[in-house]
């Protein structure tokens, strides 16, 4: 399987009267985009705004962030729309780098994180460095939270796919090739290099705690072998809306940092043999089964000697993370895990809710509970007053002068557990 990503760097986005891409400036036909979003009869209104790097602008509450992409032929985000579930991972995919679709609007009253386009929170999230096309959607009154979540999730994906199409045929791009031969060929190549597998944990627990695989709910999934190419083409999308700092947005899945880091060393220092997508379930029996199956796939199927496990969410997922780590180490697979910490506001508490002795190589993406004082922003996109509680803070933490005291896990992607962040922690 070969996939060519044609990356087009976007340096500015403007809202205009037609869709156009020239000289790195993306013009989006605002009226047409709005009409597209209103095609869904459950959407009452759709407002489109732009938020650019360096602006005094806060987006809140954010549901998902999606990079605009389109396939030369066929569908990006397979299985989400339409009646067919097309195979993806081959051919040509156009990618609009440097910009994103951001969906906002509260589904429940306590939900979601923020993106500040400037100020002290900006360095924590890669989303502050993007030209964001912000969709603020309101639903028809009679729609329940389930359907509301679906409406907003699909609206974001639809907009990103539609905007992505503007890039199709563009001649100025940087090409990136994902060559992914069949399993037998993969394991046979580079015999001198260590075979490395990647276990990608994803939330699969219920409303606002879900992931979708080819458009289907990951609660129905068992640990499954997935190629990097499928990640790039949107086979995995996010339906996870809590714990913003540690949730994996669709943008993160499309640009999975572990896959990128492994691909960069593939054929030079290591042989990247495969990815296991591991759903994080609610019951202990399901967890045990999925832990066992993940270990089984990495060892018996992929024959890996080393593995990286990435993480999503807070609390119970640490059990999955630690026990997959233990299972792999016991089978002789050298393992590194990526996790955030909940070490308390003062950093003095135990960092993790579950540990095993085998977890002796940990990459930390920082202490979620550390607080940060955010200044007033001139512009707030979203519905601040509708949100009584922001994860990592609440309205009480909005001070009279407009500043906001927040735990850093309230920042979207603030300590992303696929390691798509520079944040870490150390002991003093």
């Amino acid at each position: 399987m070969d996939l060519e990503l044609r990356n087009i760097q976007i340096r500015d986005v403007v809202l205009g009267e037609e869709n156009r891409l020239s000289d790195g400036v993306l013009t989006v036909d605002a009226a047409a985009l709005q009409a597209l979003l209103l095609e869904d009869p459950r959407v009452k209104s759709a407002r489109i705004d732009l938020a650019k790097p360096g602006e005094s602008c806060r987006i809140l509450p954010v549901k998902d962030v999606i990079e605009p992409r389109a396939k030369e032929t066929g569908d990006i985000f397979p299985g989400v729309f339409g009646t067919e579930v097309p195979e993806v991972g081959s051919g040509v995919t156009y990618v609009l780098k440097g910009c994103a679709v951001v969906t906002t609007g509260p589904i429940v009253g306590f939900q979601e994180g923020l993106i500040d386009m400037s100020g002290p929170a900006a360095p924590y999230t890669l989303f502050s460095k993007l030209n964001n096309i912000v969709l603020h959607l309101t639903k028809r009154e009679d729609i329940d939270p389930h359907e509301h979540e679906e409406v907003v999730r699909k609206a974001g994906l639809k907009a990103a796919a539609w905007i992505g199409k503007i890039a199709v045929g563009c001649a100025e791009y940087e090409s990136e090739i994902y060559h992914w031969p069949s399993l037998g060929e993969r394991t046979a190549q580079y015999p001198g290099l260590p075979k490395v597998a990647y276990v990608c944990n994803c939330m699969a627990q219920g409303l606002l705690h879900d992931t979708y695989f080819y458009g289907r709910d990951a609660k129905q999934l068992v640990p499954t072998l997935v190629s990097p190419n499928e990640f790039c083409d949107g086979a995995i999308v996010s339906g996870n809306c809590v714990s913003p700092g540690s949730k994996t947005t669709t943008y993160h899945h499309l640009n999975n940092a572990v896959i990128k880091a492994l691909m960069a060393r593939h054929g030079k220092d290591l042989n990247f043999v495969g990815i296991v997508l591991n759903p994080l379930m609610v019951t202990l029996k399901e967890k045990q089964r999925d832990i066992m199956l993940s270990v089984h796939l990495v060892t018996e199927e992929l024959g890996a000697e080393a593995a990286i496990i990435s993480q999503e969410g807070f609390g119970n997922p640490t059990t999955d993370l630690m026990h997959v780590c233990r299972g792999l180490e016991k089978r002789g697979v050298k393992t590194v895990i990526i996790t955030n910490e909940d070490a308390g506001t003062d950093g003095m508490s135990e960092s993790l809710p579950d540990v095993v002795t085998e977890a002796n190589a940990i990459v930390s993406t920082g202490n979620s509970n550390a607080t940060i004082l955010l200044p007033h922003m001139d512009r707030v996109l979203g519905e601040l007053k509708e949100v009584e509680r922001v994860t990592g803070g609440n309205v009480d933490s909005i001070r009279p002068d407009g500043t906001l005291l927040l735990e850093i896990h309230g920042i979207m992607g603030g300590h992303n557990l696929q390691g798509n962040t520079y944040l870490s922690a150390t002991t003093v």
Partner: protein, 128 residues
């Protein structure tokens, strides 16, 4: 006819409304997040088995005030892994300042109850 093999310990009134007809739901609305975990821990100590992870979901203990834990209806031999999970869950809970449900608006409480029930539903549909 209620399912006789499991028992739901909760402080979420919505769980009674939604699942009370099918499952044995023991609800104490006045109990805190922590008190529910303590109650479950004590039941685990005397041999009830844990069916869902007590820190299910991804909301932290200072965010949601609700917990619903499914355990076996009958007590057997105490399981040390289950006991360990419960004691670790309590240790983690104690590192957070608990959510004050009294200070929350009706809407927020409702939404937290709803999410809790959604997660509980996922767990219940996986029991067999």
């Amino acid at each position: 006819m209620k399912r006789s093999d499991c028992l739901i310990i909760t402080n979420n009134p919505m769980a009674v409304a939604l699942f009370g007809g099918t499952y044995d739901v023991r609800c104490n609305e006045k109990a805190s997040y922590r008190q529910i975990l303590v109650q479950v821990r004590d039941l685990v100590y005397i041999g009830h088995r844990l069916w869902n992870h007590p820190l299910y979901g991804s909301l932290r203990p200072h965010e949601t005030p609700y917990r619903s834990v499914i355990i076996s209806a009958v007590a057997g031999a105490p399981d040390s892994e289950d006991a360990l999970i419960m004691s670790e869950a309590l240790r983690v809970t104690d590192t957070f300042t608990p959510a004050d449900s009294a200070a929350m608006s009706e809407k927020i409480r409702h939404d937290y109850q709803l999410i809790d029930c959604e997660l509980l539903q996922s767990a219940l549909s996986a029991l067999n």
